[in-house]
Symmetry: C2
Subunit: 493 residues, 2 copies
């Protein structure tokens, strides 16, 4: 009987291939079969690259030789493969990227095999993954529920073991939100930690708010992946402080007693936190206290001020308008209103009202806000623990707005989607700090609830050490989503 177990993490799968207990072909074919069996129900993988994967798998060499991974269809591109950003016009054009992004180059150098590309809302611009271009991705824990966004395809895929690890990117919570609602580990690293290059997209990566990120089912996979893909590359605007040693080396060490702040209420007061989300964070905080950390109710005062979202939204409007321009240049014709979803075109119209000075002023305002948030850590706190998302997982369709809905008063940051999805994640895009969502909680109706931990700028080392501690104290690895048909056996379940 094959020893392939798709529920193993990438580190274990790589070890089995290395030791010869399984062949890379065995691993790849089992994975492809599983994707073909499950994906039709969850629609996580929108651009399968099975033939390319088979070719690449044979040539793969490196510590993760033969292990499959999935790439979000946004920003980071792979040569010769369809690239749509879930823009209808781009999908119809059949555009294919003419180069490999640095991320893809580095993953290949480590032996990873690109299996396919995952779904995203158009241009990553919503907190649920239901684009017109590719249809909705459904939550493997309950097919009627959202997978969050915008890296919803990757979150759902890793949750359903379509691959052990996947790429995503996060400009307001787009890795952490799907990780939370799909029950996997999602890391948004420090701004500049992972190069999005060589392409220059999203108007300077949404003025520095958009960070490439990672999905996995184990903390050690996240650490190993971070070692593979970290580091400045030519043209990168942003950069992170260099780690003093590889992350994979440090995660099993005890960081000693850390000062941990806990936030389980909405400091702005404009909505109530879901009690189950709050309880998940409290449970994790209690586990940290039991592990010897100094845990107290405390949080950066700046989280009680959400005025920055106005400036952030203006930057998003201009970034979306720029993306539509840039994608039009790729296919040799301007993209029009018909090529994109109506909410995106609303943002283009808003962008046209923004002057250069106003745009620059918005960027400066985000920098001031970043300083206010970061100074809490500089005052001596090591970590903040809080829910990733502040509400229960939405239904499919719940966050999507019918064309013509009055958008008055709706900031672009959550033009489609509720503030409660990103309120606790977007501040750390602006501050650039590393934040991770851990699949610690479960709701009473059987949906995963993520707990978020945030470290000081550049301190992924500390973040991963404590994440590994919680992985041991509150293990999640045995929990599996009940796919559309409970009797469906996932190979080697």
């Amino acid at each position: 009987m094959s020893k392939v177990d798709l529920w193993q993490d990438a580190t274990a799968q790589a070890e089995l291939v290395r030791s010869g207990e399984i062949s890379r072909t065995e691993l790849l074919e089992a994975t492809i079969a599983h994707v073909q069996a499950v994906n039709p129900e969850i629609n996580a993988v929108i651009i399968p690259l099975f033939e390319k994967a088979r070719r690449e798998s044979e040539l793969a060499s490196g510590p993760f030789a033969g292990v499959p991974y999935l790439l979000k269809d946004l920003t980071v591109v792979s040569q010769g493969d369809i690239n749509t950003s879930s823009i209808k016009g781009m999908k119809e054009s059949g555009y294919r990227a003419d180069h490999d992004a640095y991320f893809v180059q580095r993953m290949r150098a480590a032996g990873f095999v690109l299996l396919g590309k995952t779904n995203t809302p158009e241009m990553g611009n919503q907190v649920t993954t239901e684009p017109e271009a590719w249809g909705a991705t459904r939550n493997p824990w309950n097919l009627g529920r959202s997978v969050g966004g915008s890296s919803g395809g990757s979150g759902a895929a890793v949750a359903a073991a379509l691959s052990p690890v996947a790429h995503g990117n996060d400009a307001a919570g787009s890795v952490r939100i799907p990780a939370s609602v799909c029950g996997v580990v999602g890391l948004k690293p420090t701004r500049g930690r992972i190069s999005p290059g060589p392409l220059v997209t999203d108007s300077d990566n949404v003025a520095g708010a958009a960070h490439e990120g990672l999905f996995a089912r184990s903390v050690r996979d996240i650490a190993a992946l971070l070692d593979v893909v970290s580091g400045h590359r030519p043209g990168d605007t942003f950069c992170a402080p260099t780690a003093s040693r590889p992350y994979a080396q440090g995660i099993s060490e005890n960081p000693g007693s850390l000062r941990v702040g806990v936030l389980t209420h909405n400091p702005v007061g404009d909505f109530a936190l879901d009690p189950e989300c709050a309880a998940a964070a409290r449970g994790a905080a209690a586990a940290l206290a039991a592990l010897g950390h100094d845990v107290n109710d405390a949080y950066p005062e700046a989280l009680g001020d959400r005025s920055f979202l106005k400036d952030y939204s203006t930057i998003c409007d201009v970034a979306i308008a720029r993306e539509i321009e840039r994608n039009g240049e790729l296919i040799g014709r301007p993209l029009t209103e018909d090529d994109v979803e109506w909410t995106s075109w609303e943002m283009v119209k808003r962008a046209d009202q923004v002057t250069g000075r106003a745009f620059a002023a918005c960027v400066d305002e985000l920098r001031y806000y970043a300083g206010k948030v970061e100074r809490w850590w500089e005052a001596g706190w090591d970590l903040l623990i809080l829910p990733t998302v502040t509400r229960q997982t939405p239904e499919i369709g719940e966050l999507m707005l019918a064309k013509g809905t009055d958008l008055e008063g709706r900031q672009s940051a959550f033009i489609s989607g509720s503030l409660q999805m990103l309120a606790f994640t977007v501040p750390f895009n602006v501050s650039g700090q590393p934040a991770i969502s851990l699949p610690i909680g479960m709701s009473s109706d059987g949906m995963p609830i993520g707990v978020q931990i945030v470290a000081a700028y550049g301190r992924e080392d500390l973040l991963l050490q404590v994440a590994a501690q919680l992985e041991g104290a509150l293990p999640w690895v045995a929990r599996r989503p009940q796919l559309l048909n409970p009797s469906r056996k996932i190979p080697a379940a």
Copy 2:
């Protein structure tokens, strides 16, 4: 007889104070007397802080206890001190800063004593230092000649031993140009290496092109200063890869044979390089070859493309308009046309024509250009050596434009000043790479000529090792400017 020798570098002065051979009071009073004797002729120090220095000197502790330094009157502020950015309206308002910048905090923590603030063109926006607010700073090598810009006050002050080290900032060459024409060492480090915070200025530091920098008369002082002031601080947009060890530790080590490219012609071809500037760089290149480096005529192809200056200039227009807004907020009233120089107001009028989308597009264009420049280093080159400035040092007044001059066709990047001053420096502001100007050459009419070395992103360690090698091979420390009166003896000359 006092052992104070103001021509010694900060490292030596600190050692004398530490050993007790001189007292900090002796050092400070000798420095103040020297400034009072020389500054009236060169007008480098515009805001003397002698009483504050006397108070701070007594309390100073740290490796540089008692050693004076000077701060450019732009971006980095000191609490309670006049802060004008050489804006007439700000000078007249008497505005004083309400906090110490991170830079000032770190210098004080190392024991440095803030002696005063140095001259700059208005908002650092020209390549010569002749602001209406404070009058021209004159070159201590020839009082009829410019000190370059925009950190001209700091360059001239260190050249005339008014202090051993000084702060500057560099958005197109504003540390390296004054270092070149004043005959001192000037480092523009990697983008994000030195925090400009906590203030957010110049529209996100001219979209990442403006970097805080350092002046000294020795390479070891630059290395020691970099260790004092480096590192991410809260709210910093940009960050540099962390050095693997303190710079001061590494500079005397031999980096082994490095691949060095040499550029001594104008690859765009729109003007001829001054032969003496070219010869200075060739001389340094020959010295590097003699030191065992692999030196060849080679340079990044992107230096032959100056189209990015159009986008850079648009960003400067918006940054100046934002600075005028920001400074007006500091004094509680908008600054008007009468408060600023006419070229600055021209830039405000240009900024008003710029849309948010156009501004964002300009930023993206700079990122593409940065990638093109950096990829030369990624292809295996370690260093590039070229002249800092491509022309002889201008006369006082030569670069200043009479009000009403037709600015048609003049990009804001050199709206006042010639392209030949910044053509070889501005590309590395955009790419974010570290670059240093070394006082290696001398013109036939007795003016210093700087030679620029550029390293890969984050590699100040390599840059400083090679700079120290050239400091040994082509020593400059004995060369002194003949101040206005040749018979004038500088204390302990």
